[in-house]
Amino acid sequence: MTALLELKDVTKRFGGLQAVGHMTFSLDKGEILGLIGPNGAGKTTIFNLINGFYPPTSGTILFKGKRIDGLKPHTVCRLGLARTFQVVKPLARLSVLDNVMVSAFSRTNHREEARTTALEATTFTEMDAWRDVPAGSLPLGMRKRLEMARALATKPEILLLDENFAGLNPTEVEKTNAIVKKIHATGITILIIEHNMRVIMAISHRLICINYGEKIAEGTPQEVATNPQVVEAYLGAAHA
């Protein structure tokens, strides 16, 4: 099986501070890979590197065998990599449907087509009732779901989910869980950052744990959960 996305020895420094160091991992087609680690471990930075917000200080990022490091986010998106944001970024004064249409336009120039795609994506994420509401006045759960709908409307091959479960109540967690599974079932490969251990253990095929920007463990959820370094990182963080 060939890797869809590969990070090879990727390092990012801000000034003197290393945010991500020597990160190497690959994401295979069709899998759900979980990314865990304590707060500030550099998970979102990895997303920002993949998605093109920052160029890596060193190392390469390959998508389908081609280098994408240093490309602009919009190019990366058009190649088929979509992401959601941990801190949700709704286009506040646009309606939910318009929000999703904006991202649908990445695949078409026609308004009607974009609209159709957007309608599908909102139905897929079960947001039909919210379509005409300005995104800025959505409750948090719906904002997180809007992030997914928008990412889907760009018709990605890989979806980067950044803490889409955080702050949701149990019912919403269930719903989101179901949606993520549904997305995966359509053949989209998923890289997910999540703090909710119960969710991520259940949903991921593989897990990578990072701390201080470096990978400390990789394997099946069970392997990673029992890895002593991982336990220490989390307990250490809990004690701090």
Binding site: F53, H74, F85, K89, P90, R93, F105, S106, T108, A114
Partner: protein, 317 residues
């Protein structure tokens, strides 16, 4: 055509009929200035209101449009060909805009806003000092092509209508959605596949083109320009922002309402209040900003939708 669109056309039809009702040059002059300012407000609105890129120096484009026309006439063309200035003036303005956009849109934040301001000042000084091209501080003058104001009225009306049409069309298609996305959140827009630099530039080019065309019209209509008039920060650049934001930024009719308010109210103040009129105008600006934070049109629309939403929420509950 839907009923809503028909209602939208009514004011346009009414405006079209004005010269049939009055031939009075003074009133027509006021209406012509209002229409000119509608073009300016709408153009600024596309870039500032819809795309969220605030320009403090749109006089740069106005001046370039006016001077392109003026220089065409000065270099031997007859005043009637000066109407080509509407096209060439607009294109020159867009060219200048392409340069400044290329330099500034790679940067975030206030840099664009301030750079355009710097650009307009530099252009003003060039116009003052480059005597051979621009005739310097003495300005450029020619006898306007028409003595009848009705012609000017319809020309500027056509310009405003085309401008409105183009902006409506753009805002309903892909670039329009992208402009709004850029305004709301640039990072998010990028990650949704939008080449923000390119689309900011597109918005700027359209905006600058029409501003330049308006400048060309001004030259044709007034028959006289000088650097201080057409490159004025206070009287052009800032007034464009005022007109748009007082009427309602990012609304369809906001700039039009703002322009009419600005031209007619300031004229009424000037005639009725006398020497203190600018003081009243300043107070009016402050009052509108406080009581109509999204401009007159924007705030009224907000109130209506909020009411509707409240009613909707009650129905759901």
């Amino acid at each position: 055509m839907s009923r809503k669109n028909l209602i939208g056309l009514l004011p346009i039809a009414a405006v079209l009929l004005i010269p049939l009702l009055t031939q009075n040059p003074y009133l027509l002059h006021m209406f012509i200035l209002s229409l000119l300012w509608i073009v300016l407000g709408q153009s600024w609105n596309l870039l500032g209101g819809y795309t969220g890129q605030i320009s403090y120096g749109h006089a740069a484009f106005f001046g370039v449009g006016a001077y392109t026309t003026g220089i065409m006439v000065k270099s031997g063309q007859s005043p009637s060909t000066a109407w080509w200035g509407l096209l060439f003036g607009g294109l020159m303005a867009a060219l200048v805009a392409a340069f400044i956009g290329w330099v500034c849109f790679r940067l975030r934040g206030s840099y664009f806003s301030l750079s355009v301001l710097a650009l307009s000042e530099v252009l003003r000084l060039v116009a003052v000092n480059w005597n051979r091209l621009t005739n310097g501080a003495e300005g450029i003058l020619f006898i306007p092509a028409f003595t009848q104001k009705t012609y000017y009225y319809y020309i500027v009306f056509a310009l405003a209508a085309v401008n409105l049409g183009v902006i409506r069309w753009v805002m309903r298609s892909k670039p329009g959605y992208y402009f709004l996305a850029i305004r709301e959140d640039q990072d998010c827009a990028e990650s949704l596949g939008i080449d923000t630099t390119k689309y900011k530039l597109l918005s700027l080019l359209i905006s600058a083109f029409f501003t330049g065309a308006a400048g060309a019209f001004y030259m044709n209509y007034m028959g006289f320009i000088d650097p201080g008039i057409v490159f004025s920060i206070a009287d052009i650049s800032i007034m464009m922002i005022l007109v748009t934001m007082l009427g309602g930024a990012a609304t369809k009719w906001g700039p039009a309402v703002g322009a009419i308010l600005f031209i007619l109210v300031s004229e009424i103040f000037r005639v009725w209040v006398g020497s203190g009129h600018l003081l009243f105008f300043g107070v009016l600006i402050i009052a509108i900003i406080i009581y109509f934070p999204n401009g007159i049109v924007g705030t009224l629309v907000d109130r209506r939708t909020r009411k509707r939403r409240l009613r909707g929420a009650e129905a759901v509950a």
